[in-house]
């Protein structure tokens, strides 16, 4: 098993090693892992006492309690279970956007690296992971799995993803509900410009999935550093707007900041943890905010 995944810059990988994936809820996955689960059994974390039933192992009877109460009680503990991590990547055409200042570094490139980092963490923790590439009016799913070969399978799928098309309609997303079960950790990486995307995340969160999202934005969308007349083109709808950049800069930054704040509030209301990532930041920055102890910048 290779320890270093090609594609992740070594410095990023080094910083990410300290992070741990954790779910806010309890995992419902079977098996033995590192996350709190609702499955009862022999473990360290006390869950409850229950009355003895026929068939229980005699060694699980709490004899000290029997001495006090003269009744048989079985001590139950929460068993630690593995986590099931789903990585959702938006691969619609808008994800292909890159800054003019750094043409080779698109949103999708950043999302790919972030997904690989999370896979690396999950692999180390022994958790199961799978990727879902959502874009071009379709959904490409790599089912859950563990191990290095499954990591490579997911990395290959992510590497082959091309930014094209639009966010698919709701019926296309419906099969995902069969795979993403309640209690799964869902990490969405995308620009969240599509209403369908945000609605899907809300529904996932309300249906008991632990949803985390990384809103990937470009530096131009934050700063709007254009000068002179510019023709802006929406990569998904091919709508073009010809505008004088300095004149519309203040209005755009204002409107876009409002939109970002609205999105954050909406996701928070649905119970989705979110972090913003701008293309000029270190690529592991949102992972530290969401998975580590680092605070989001004000």
């Amino acid at each position: 098993m290779k320890s270093v995944q090609p594609g992740i810059p070594p410095d990023v990988l080094a910083r990410v090693r300290a992070l741990r994936l954790s779910s806010r809820g309890v995992t419902l996955a079977p098996g033995v892992g590192q996350h709190p689960s609702r499955s009862r059994g022999a473990g360290l974390e006390f869950a409850q006492y229950r009355a003895y039933e026929q068939g229980d192992e005699p060694r699980r009877i709490d004899w000290k309690l029997f001495a006090r109460s003269d009744r048989y009680f079985v001590r139950e503990a929460d068993r630690d279970s593995p986590l099931r991590v789903w990585l959702l990547l938006d691969t619609s055409a808008s994800m292909g956007q890159a800054d003019v200042a750094r043409p080779g570094w698109s949103r999708l490139d950043a999302a790919r690296i972030m997904a690989l980092c999370v896979i690396e963490i999950a692999l180390r923790q022994g958790d199961a992971f799978g990727t879902v590439l959502i874009g071009e009016d379709s959904v490409a799913l790599t089912s859950l799995g563990t191990g290095g070969r499954h990591r490579d399978r997911c990395a290959l799928a992510a590497a082959n993803a091309q930014a094209a098309g639009k966010w698919p309609a709701e019926p296309v997303l419906r099969p995902l509900w069969e795979h993403i079960r309640a209690g799964d950790l869902v990490l969405m990486i995308g620009d969240h410009f599509d209403e369908g995307c945000v609605a899907f995340l809300e529904r996932l969160a309300l249906a008991g999935r632990d949803v985390v999202s990384i809103v990937t934005l470009t530096q131009e969308e934050r700063d709007f550093p254009f000068a002179g007349g510019q023709r802006f083109r929406d990569p998904e709808s091919s709508v073009e707007i010809l505008t004088d950049a300095p004149a519309s800069r203040a209005a755009f930054i204002d409107a876009f900041a409002n939109a970002r704040e609205g999105l954050r509030a909406r996701l928070a209301a649905a119970g989705v943890r979110s972090a913003e990532y701008f293309l000029d930041q270190p690529v592991d920055e949102p992972l530290h905010i969401l998975l580590g102890s680092r605070q989001a910048p004000a």
Partner: protein
Amino acid sequence: MNLTFVFPIGLLALGALLVPLLLHLARRSEYRTVDFAALRWLAAHARPRRRLRLVEHGLLLVRLALVTAIALLLAGPVWTGGMRSRAWTVVVPGVSPAAVPLPAKDSVDERRWLSPGLPRLDQPAPQPGAPIGSLLRELDARLPAAAPLTVWVPRELAGLDGASIELARPVRWRVAPGAANVSVPRGAARVPFAVRFDADRESALIYLRAAWRAWAIGHSAPAAKPMQGQALPDVSSSANLPADRRGALVWLRSGDLPREVIDWVLAGGTILVEPRTNTRVSFASSAVAWRDDDGRALARTVRSGRGRVVRLEAALDPAALPGVLDGSFASALREMLHPPGVSPARALAKDVAPIRNPSVRRMTVPLRRDLDMETWLVWLIAVGFVIERIAGTAARRWRSA
């Protein structure tokens, strides 16, 4: 010293200055297209302000200068005035240069032949026959106003035209003993002509000889004396052209005119024919060249190319044409062969001295250019073009790099 233009309409080419200006403006309207997914929050109503900004100022300046220089070159700029008013002495060909007084010591006077191109007097005498009046007017217009002008002319002056010579400056008109400035046929009262006849028409020759002799009588020109009493110079029963192509031709032969004779007439010759000669020329628009006392037409003339064809109404024979026996036949023949109406191009030099008329001001190019602006402009344009090409292509190279 001031700047004038020979061809001021050429300055309209300055309108081409708009072209480089537009070229440097047009770049502004090219907008870069940027992929921008957050288009929803971008206000579309803020149209880009079209600021009239010029780019690449250095290149633009070079291009403007280039266009300006080309326009100036087209307009033909000249500096007028400021030339030294040196005295001019022109000599009409025909006057011996030795007759002209030598210039004073360390004189800077210009001494030229009055001939097209105004060659210097120390060069061989040019061919005579140039239009004297026209050359004098041109010289008067091109000389600085204060330059005194002396003209040496022979006693007889040819090459004059219908107008008197009016010049804006006073002219010292010096008549030198010398030949006329053009060699004209001697005995101008006689019109030289050749005769071509058939054998049966030899009887008509006596009337022509009589007229030829009559032309000499009473003509007082001294040059005519040696000719007196001579027979007709060129009489032949052949059909070839006379050796002296400048004279007229009397054609007393039947049948068609030979091709070479027709060509000679078309080139400017005058031919007199009898009715039996087929000239292949239509006399529909002819004029009467000779009438008898009763007013009947005895000869008609018509133009043919640059020459003339005169056709007698009857054969040159007293029986058919009694007019040949008249005393007036000699003058009638002269008028038929050499009609009056050509303005006199020849006069005694003392009679045609130029008249001073200060109101005659002709604006043309000065004769000498102390400052040859056109050469400098051509060099400026060449250098400017090289700079423009280097700067223009270099800017493109940098942009693509």
